[in-house]
Structure formats: C-alpha cells, structure tokens
C-alpha cells in the first residue's frame, strides 16, 4: 500500500510538472497563433525517440527526450523551410511535416518491435503515454528541464512579449527577431518533449493549447495567462494521471487531455466577462435596460400628442408600440418601482422624474445619431 502511494504520488507529481511547463510555455505559442505548431512538433518527435533508442540502445529518459527534442526541432525547421522556399501555405506545411515524421516514427517503431530482443519494450508508450511507468528519476529530469525553460522564459519575458505582440516593432528597435523566434520555438519544443512519455505524441499538443485557452478566459494580463495556463496544466496533469493510474486500462494521455478539456469547457462557460454565461446575462440585462428605456420613450412620444406631458395612456396602447408586447406590463411595474411612471385608473403616466429621464434619453439618442 505504501509502495502504491509512493507510485501514485510520483505519477501525480510528474504529470503536474509536465502540465505546468507545457501550459505556461504553450501560452506563448497560443497567443502567437501557433497552436498547431505544437502538434507538428510532438508528432515529429516520434522518430527521434526511436532513433535515439536505435543508436544508443538506452531507454534513459534523458536520452529519449534529447532524441525527441532534436527530431521535433528538425520538424520545425522543415516547416519554416517549406513556407520560406515554396508557395505551400503554413498550415499545409504543418500537415506535411506532421504526417511524414509521424509515419517515419511508426515505421521505426514497428521495425524495433519486430526485433527479437525484448529491450525495446515500452517504446510504444510514447504514442499515447504511460504515466504509471514514471519513477522518481524521470520526474526529476522533467522538473529540471521544465524549470530551466521557465527560467529562460522569465529572463527574456520582455523580449518575448514584444515578439508576440508586434514582431516588426521589435525588429525596428534592433532586437534580432529571427533569433528570438528560434528561442521561443525551442522553448516550445522543450515543453513538448517533457510530456511525451506521459501523454504521448498524439495528444501532447492538447496540453499546449488547452490550458492557455482556458486561462485566457479568466484574465487580461500576459502574466495571468501564463501563470493560469501553468496552474490549469498542472491540475489537469495531476488529476488525469491519478485517474489513469488508479483505473485499469485507462491510458494516461487521453485521460489528462480530457481533464484539460473539462477545464476549458468550464472556463468557456463560466469565466467572468468572456464566459458564455456572463455574456448571456449581460445580453439579458441590456435587453431589459433597452425595454425600460423603450417603454419610457413610448410614453413620452404618446404624451407629446397632448398638451399635458403627464397625460396617461393605457398599457394596451403601449403594447402596440413594441416588438415584445408581453414585456410591457412587467416593464411598467419596474418603472413604477423606480418612480418614473405612475398608474392612474387603468392608464399609465410619466412622473416628473420620468419625463426628465425620457427627455434625457431622447437627447442622448439624437446625439448618438449625429456622432
């Protein structure tokens, strides 16, 4: 039992570390409109894993991670090269690199699988990830690499921010945009390879994109997006890994990705200001404000036809003047509570304050039309 707890703790910690680094570093890629680059890099890393094992016969995480990183990097260079030297558009270049490298990786894995030695066993976990295999040493490696990448991100924060927002302006001020671009992409490669063993090449890009997309909903500050993405990534990683490790035959990568997706859905729905629920409430409030103003103006318009601006009119007349007649009575009640209209017999009339308010509305609207 103690052994199990230790494993579970290691797994959860490892997945949290990878979620933190991929979330935080992925935020830059997402803000730059390069979400799909992460997908290409992670798929391109697969042949690197296989080749690293072929050349070194070692399954040490650092060796495989370096192989994955180099292959992912070469894949990125291919994308850049294709877009620069041909008329193939960026998204097509991503698709080409992704599928060619992934295909190559699958061929190499199949070849390794067919070999008589058993030492290659476990390499195929790089497809969908396997958190249960994580040991303390792996977590330490991941944490070390991730921390280094995050420190570099912090050191060059100002430069990266400028590159993300306005690369031309960075160039005008003398910053080497190409070098910064390569640096930022390298950090993205690092963020991806850290998670490959746990999440797998197929779904790793979700951990780059999802936490940032969720965090963007909650904050308008760059630091907030990056920190939030790191936190959401860590949360998704840890919960997904624990679920997967404690449930039989539940692959880790997909579970972590589903957890991240849940965070995204909640954020899309419930974030203040940018969330769907908040937008719906805002829309409802706006409609209500418009209805109140509309009814007030209708009463004013009717009153203009009489010498007395406080001349009462029945609700039935107002019902003919609006697109939502059913809302007239509740709106009149709301207006009476605000002291803007009063009921006289079966009819409604503007109060002194109501008249002033209606005149102000009419004036504002007139100005709005001029502007």
């Amino acid at each position: 039992m103690i052994e199990f707890d230790y494993t579970l703790r290691t797994v959860a910690l490892g997945a949290a570390v990878l979620g933190l680094s991929s979330g935080a570093l992925g935020a830059f890629a997402v803000l730059r409109g390069q979400s799909l680059l992460g997908d290409a890099i992670s798929h391109a890393a697969l042949p690197g894993v296989a080749l690293a094992f072929l050349l070194t016969a070692s399954k040490a995480p650092l060796v495989l991670v370096i192989g994955a990183g180099l292959a992912g990097w070469v894949g990125t260079l291919c994308v850049m090269g294709i877009t620069r030297t041909s008329r193939v558009p960026y998204d097509a270049a991503l698709g080409i690199v992704l599928s060619v490298f992934f295909g190559l990786g699958m061929v190499l894995l199949t070849y390794l699988q067919a070999r008589p030695q058993a030492s290659q066993a476990g390499l195929d976990t790089f497809l969908f990830g396997q958190a249960a295999a994580l040991v303390g040493r792996d977590v330490a490696t991941m944490a070390g690499i991730g921390a280094l990448a995050l420190v570099l991100m912090g050191v060059f924060w100002k430069e990266f921010k400028l590159l993300l927002f306005d690369a031309d302006f960075a160039a005008v001020q003398g910053f080497p945009v190409r070098a910064l671009d390569i640096g930022l992409t390298t950090l993205l490669v690092v963020a991806i390879v850290i998670g490959l063993q746990t999440v797998g090449v197929v779904l790793m890009s979700a951990l780059i994109v999802a936490p940032a997309a969720a965090a963007r909903q909650w904050t308008d500050r760059l630091i907030g997006v990056v920190a939030g993405a790191g936190a959401f990534g860590a949360l998704s990683g840890a919960s997904g890994a624990i679920l997967s490790a404690t449930t039989a035959r539940l692959p880790t990568g997909p579970t972590i990705v589903l957890c991240a997706t849940a965070v995204v859905v909640v954020s899309l729905a419930f974030a203040p200001r940018r969330g769907l629920v908040s937008a719906w409430l805002r829309g409802r409030r706006n409609r209500q404000v418009l209805r109140v103003a509309g009814t007030l103006e209708d009463l004013y318009t009717l009153a203009l036809g009489h010498a007395d601006p406080h001349y009462p009119h029945p609700a039935a007349t107002l019902r003919t003047m609006t697109h939502s007649p059913d809302a007239v009575e509740p709106t009149l009640d709301a207006l009476r509570q605000q002291g803007l209209v009063e009921a006289r017999d079966d009819a409604w009339a503007l109060t002194g304050r109501g008249l002033a308010e209606a005149q102000r509305l009419a004036r504002d609207r007139g100005e709005g039309r001029d502007a």
Partner: protein, 305 residues
C-alpha cells in the same frame, strides 16, 4: 528617370559616411523591392531633409507601406541603399520611431495600454532590463500627449479604433526619435483622433523632427504636410507640396484617374469625400504586367468618378 519625375526638392549632394549635422534625415538610393520577381518598388531615389513633414501618397498597391518597411529594414531589398541621418539604419536605430498600421497586431492580446506604450522604451532599455519608474513616467507623459492618460490601465481590447491609433502614436513618442515613420495613422479614425494626430504632427515639426506619413486623403495633404512623395511603384515626384502636388503629377501617380483635384480649374468635378480615395479599377491603376503607368502612355479619359 523620366524628365517629368525630376520635380525633386532636394538635390543629391555628396554623401558623407560619418554623421554630418546636415545629412538628410532619409536618403534612399536606387531602392528596388521585389515580391516573387515582381517589382513592388522600382529604383526609388528619395532624399528627405531633416525637419520635414512628408506625406507618402499613391494608389493602392503603389508600395507605400513597402517603402516604409524597406526604410526600416523590415523587408529584404533586391537592390539599393538606405541611410537614416547619414548612416546605415543599424547605426541610427535609436533615432527612428515607427507607427505600424493599426491592423497589423492582435488587439485582443492580453495586455494593458500602458504596457503597449512601454514597448517603445524596450529598444533603449536593451536586453533583459525591465522598464522602471522613469520609463513608466515617460509612457504616461506620452499618453497624456495623445489624450489617452485616463486609459493607461485599460485592457487594449476595450479601445476603439481611434484610441488604438493614439496608443500606437504614444508608443512611438516614447521612442523619443528624430525620424518618425507612420503607416496610415489617419486610416478610419474618429474626428478627435484626427485632430490629435494633426496637433501631434505639428508639435513634432516644431521640435525639428522628421516625419514620414503614409496618407490616403489627398484633400488634406496641402493642409497637413510640407512635403509630399507621389509613389506608384516608381517615384513619381517628391518635394515641397507647393511644387510637386500638381494635377499632372497626381494624374501620373494615379494612372490618369485622379480621385481629387489638386489645383481646381473651377470645373464641375467635386473632390471626393475626405478619406475615401476613389476606387480605381485594377487595370487602370496598374497594368497587368506589373509595370507602372508611365508618362508616355496615352492618357486615359480623365472623367472623374
């Protein structure tokens, strides 16, 4: 260079390689920029003396933005040389400020108005160092100048188009440059912003700065600027507005269809609405083979739209 394009205000004097006090603000020689073998700018010569407020005008696709970007070293050039304040750009970067087109960035980027303006201090801060109290004071002062002081802590996604433009101007102001290049600052802005920009241009001129502005509204050229460059892939004419902003030059730049009359001969043709250059048919403003219209070509019917 055809005879009719020689209406240049400044002669090309002997060039000095060191930073001579009287070297021109911008000195472009034989500049050609091509996009996939098609010339976008063709053999441009341009000398802009210091202290000049110059409009860059020309039809769509004339290469106005390309010229600005080429001067700033943002585009690879096929041929030619650019000097700013008598030196290659790399040596005078700190003296150059840039206002890109408003639409060139993502205004939903998670950052504040003050943060965007502070980006103008990054160049002088250099690597790694963060903006401090002094830079923040500079940025707030620049926002004050464009009437946006109250918006410092606002998220940039909440700004209107005109406000976005003023933030970009403030960012260029904190660069504290001697030469300013602005790409369509008047594009689609409200009246307040237009007035702010005009006042700003005048202040920059009083301070002896040089300002190049890509501009669309021919009507306001004589009012806002002292110099004008008429561009249509080639340089059509450049110099003081009084000398080169003529009907003949405009007709040459716009391929016979001038969306506005520079010196009205009391004809019935009314100028276009400000800010809306007349839509020119593709075939008219530039012939299909990419070569610009030249003076020898038969003048198309000058009927106004």
């Amino acid at each position: 260079m055809t005879p009719t394009t020689s209406a240049s205000g400044a002669g090309r004097g002997p060039r000095t390689t060191h930073h001579a006090p009287n070297s021109p603000a911008i000195d472009v020689a034989d500049l050609t920029v091509a996009y996939r073998d098609e010339p976008v700018l063709w053999d441009i010569d341009l000398v802009v003396p210091e202290g000049v407020l110059m409009a860059i005008v020309g039809p769509n696709g004339a290469g106005k933005t390309t010229l600005v970007k080429a001067i700033l070293g943002l585009l690879p050039t096929a041929a030619g040389r650019v000097e700013v304040l008598g030196q290659p750009l790399a040596a005078t970067r700190r003296a150059v400020a840039y206002v890109p087109q408003r639409g060139s960035v993502d205004w939903d980027f998670p950052t504040s108005v003050l943060d965007v303006v502070l980006m103008g201090t990054y160049g002088r801060l250099g690597w790694i160092k963060r903006p401090g109290a002094r830079e923040k004071a500079d940025a707030r002062a620049a926002l004050e100048q464009v009437g946006m002081a109250d918006f410092a802590d606002r998220q940039i996604a909440q700004l209107s188009g005109g406000q976005q433009q003023r933030v970009f101007l403030a960012r260029a102001l904190v660069q504290d440059a001697r030469v300013y290049l602005m790409d369509e600052p008047f594009q689609g802005v409200d009246a307040t912003t237009e007035r702010t920009i005009v006042a700003l241009l005048q202040r920059l001129r009083e301070e002896g700065k040089t300002v190049l502005v890509v501009h669309h509204d021919l009507q306001t050229v004589p009012e806002y600027f002292d110099w004008v460059l008429l561009l249509n892939v080639r340089r059509i004419a450049a110099g003081p507005v009084a000398e080169v902003f003529t009907d003949a030059n405009l007709r040459m730049a716009y391929g016979g269809r001038v969306p506005f009359q520079a010196r009205s001969e009391e004809s019935g043709g009314r100028g276009q609405e400000p800010g809306t250059p007349a839509p020119l048919a593709d075939g008219e403003r530039q012939r299909g083979d990419g070569t610009p219209p030249h003076p020898g070509s038969p003048a198309p019917n000058p009927s106004r739209l």
